[in-house]
């Protein structure tokens, strides 16, 4: 995929100059054209054909961008209900890639890609990396999980498409990461922010000074919520610029939105997506600047276009122009979730997953509380759970129970929480919907 034989002008700030510098009017004209194409194409999907029929809607009814609001929302539940291939808009034989979420809260969700989808996805990532000043003579180390997690292959393909030497280092093994950084002259890393903090700890222990001993200059960080303060700390720690990345597997993966050098919001690529911010209760659009739920419509996807997909992420529009010359909408960093999903160390966790495990232990009562805290720069989870009956007065057996719960939770959520047994009736009782999660992390404050 490398560079596709195109000789690029390193001094040009844009990877796709024509698209990136479009005026608002040009962007909107392109969006309408692509929306109409997408809606027509969606009629190849059993799911959307039925959806449109039920809504009494025809593809021809979409005559303006405002008409988008006639189209019903698509939700994660729809993806689960049509698992695995019910939403595809092309025959399966035209698909070349599948990504899937863990599916621990019911059916997993499957996202299909054609060759062209993969290429368009790589183009978005390449555009982002170019935007923050990376060029084909940079060395890009992708320290993100590979496999089903889209941060691996997504950045791999994008960095390759941009023309960089790309190191698929994958997550973990900090000593090896540091060796690669030094030996290969790595200039850019993609990782979850909490991992970079961890990497710095190991560097300190090994006596490696990122300023003197490495060529690092750019970080792409994303896949877990982090505050501006956390970003600044990472930048100061390493003396490296860190740019916020937004992606979600439903859209493709990373690449959907990315900060430019201004670091004042993430440009969402409006030639690929229509961005709406709606009130999560009324589902009506909110004015620019007001926080609401991010809703995305894909404009270029072949295998599985999604119309008005409710991301559940809360954010706001910061502006539609930028000193960098791009008029693609600027979106604030994510402010939270409109559902109860927690994002911890890049892992998506729903309380129901925790509950399911706790219920397997007859020693435990049904009341529990999950508390998320930030300790230094690490996110931690504490699960307090009430003991049903004191089944023993042997301390060792209580410790063994705690360990068994911890192990079962780790198998489910891939993180090891602190588990605390508490007496029955000691957790706060709430009227109606129980409060299961207390998020004390700095990120949302």
């Amino acid at each position: 995929m490398k560079n596709e034989g195109i000789t690029r002008d390193y001094s040009c700030e844009y990877f796709n100059p024509d698209i990136e510098t479009m005026s608002r009017r040009q962007i909107e004209a392109l969006q309408l054209e692509r929306l109409q194409d997408t809606v027509r194409h969606c009629m190849n999907s059993e799911f959307y054909r039925k959806r449109f029929e039920e809504a009494g809607l025809k593809p021809e009814d979409i005559q303006s961008l405002d008409d988008l609001r006639k189209i019903p929302f698509t939700t994660k539940q729809d993806l689960r209900d049509t698992y695995p291939f019910g939403m595809a808009s092309v025959p399966l034989e035209q698909c070349t890639r599948l990504h899937s979420s863990s599916g621990t809260t019911g059916n997993p969700t499957v996202i299909l890609h054609t060759d062209k989808d993969i290429d368009e996805w790589a183009n978005q990532v390449a555009r982002n990396l170019w935007m923050v000043g990376l060029r084909p003579d940079d060395v890009f180390q992708n320290s993100s999980g590979y496999g089903m997690f889209t941060g691996g292959l997504g950045f791999q393909n994008g960095a390759e498409k941009m023309g960089m030497l790309t190191v698929p280092a994958a997550a973990g093994n900090s000593l090896r990461q540091i060796k690669f950084i030094k030996d290969f002259g790595t200039t850019a890393i993609h990782a979850v922010p909490s991992y970079l903090t961890r990497l710095k700890e190991v560097m300190d222990k090994e006596g490696v000074d990122p300023h003197k001993d490495t060529k690092l200059r750019v970080f792409a960080i994303g896949a877990e919520p982090h505050s501006e303060e956390q970003r600044k700390r990472i930048e100061e720690m390493f003396g490296v610029k860190a740019y916020n990345s937004f992606g979600m597997s439903e859209m493709c993966g990373p690449g959907v939105g990315f900060e430019c050098k201004e670091q004042n919001g993430l440009h969402f690529w409006e030639d690929y997506y229509i961005v709406e911010i709606v009130d999560p209760e009324t589902l009506e659009p909110v004015p620019d600047g007001e926080i609401g739920e991010l809703v995305l419509t894909t404009l270029r996807r072949e295998a599985m276009p999604l119309l008005r997909y409710r991301t559940r992420d809360l954010t706001r529009v910061l502006g539609r122009s930028c000193p960098c010359g791009r008029n693609h909408v600027r979106i604030d960093r994510m402010k939270g979730r409109s559902d109860d999903m927690m994002v911890l160390k890049g892992v998506n966790i729903f309380p129901i997953q925790i509950e399911k495990i706790l219920m397997q232990f007859p020693e435990l009562a049904s009341n529990y509380l999950i508390t998320l805290t930030t300790d230094e720069d690490n996110d931690n989870m504490t699960v307090e759970v009430e003991l049903e009956e004191l089944f023993t007065d042997d301390y060792q057996r209580l410790v063994a129970l705690t360990k068994n719960i911890q192990r079962a939770l780790k198998d489910e959520i891939l993180l090891t929480p602190h588990v605390k047994l508490v007496p029955k009736g000691s957790l706060p009782q709430s009227e109606g919907k129980a409060v299961r999660v207390v998020d004390k992390r700095k990120v949302y404050q």
């Binding site: 004191l390 301390y395 007496p423």
Partner: protein, 139 residues
């Protein structure tokens, strides 16, 4: 041979112990000996009292995590070396002690212990004719 002890699960936080003591006090329960085993997150409060079954029901009624455990109360002379003697008798036959606490009762030393295996402990106490207390002694 065994006597009933209350084992109460309490949280490591202010006010939880007094809550339990209040319930016992209102029920007219006389505490004879007690000990708190603490860990980072919670404690087990172990209590010998004059009416263990009644106290157990009262605590359970109040929603407290409580258990009645069978423990052995060895009676020893209040002299140096007696505890060592008693424990070594158990130890020699492979009985181990999960936990133990002691107090003075009517001029005698009392060793309250949970032994494992319990049957073997009772067997050796019978054979070696070690003195022990029963619930009647505290009632």
């Amino acid at each position: 041979m065994t006597i009933k002890q209350l084992s109460i699960f309490i949280e490591n936080k202010g006010g939880t112990l007094i809550n339990v003591l209040d319930i016992l006090s209102k029920g007219g329960i006389q505490i004879i000996a007690s000990t708190v085993a603490d860990t980072q997150d919670y404690g087990i409060y172990r209590v010998l009292c004059d009416q263990p079954t009644r106290a157990f029901l009262m605590l359970r009624e109040a929603g407290i995590n409580v258990q009645l455990s069978d423990v052995i109360a060895l009676s020893i002379d209040d002299e140096p070396g007696r505890a060592a003697q008693a424990i070594s008798t158990l130890s020699q036959v492979g009985v181990s002690i999960l936990y133990m606490y002691s107090f003075l009762w009517k001029g005698k030393g009392v060793l309250v212990l949970r032994a494992q295996p319990a049957e073997k402990a009772q067997e050796v106490i019978t054979i070696q004719k070690l003195a022990y207390l029963t619930e009647i002694d505290f009632a």
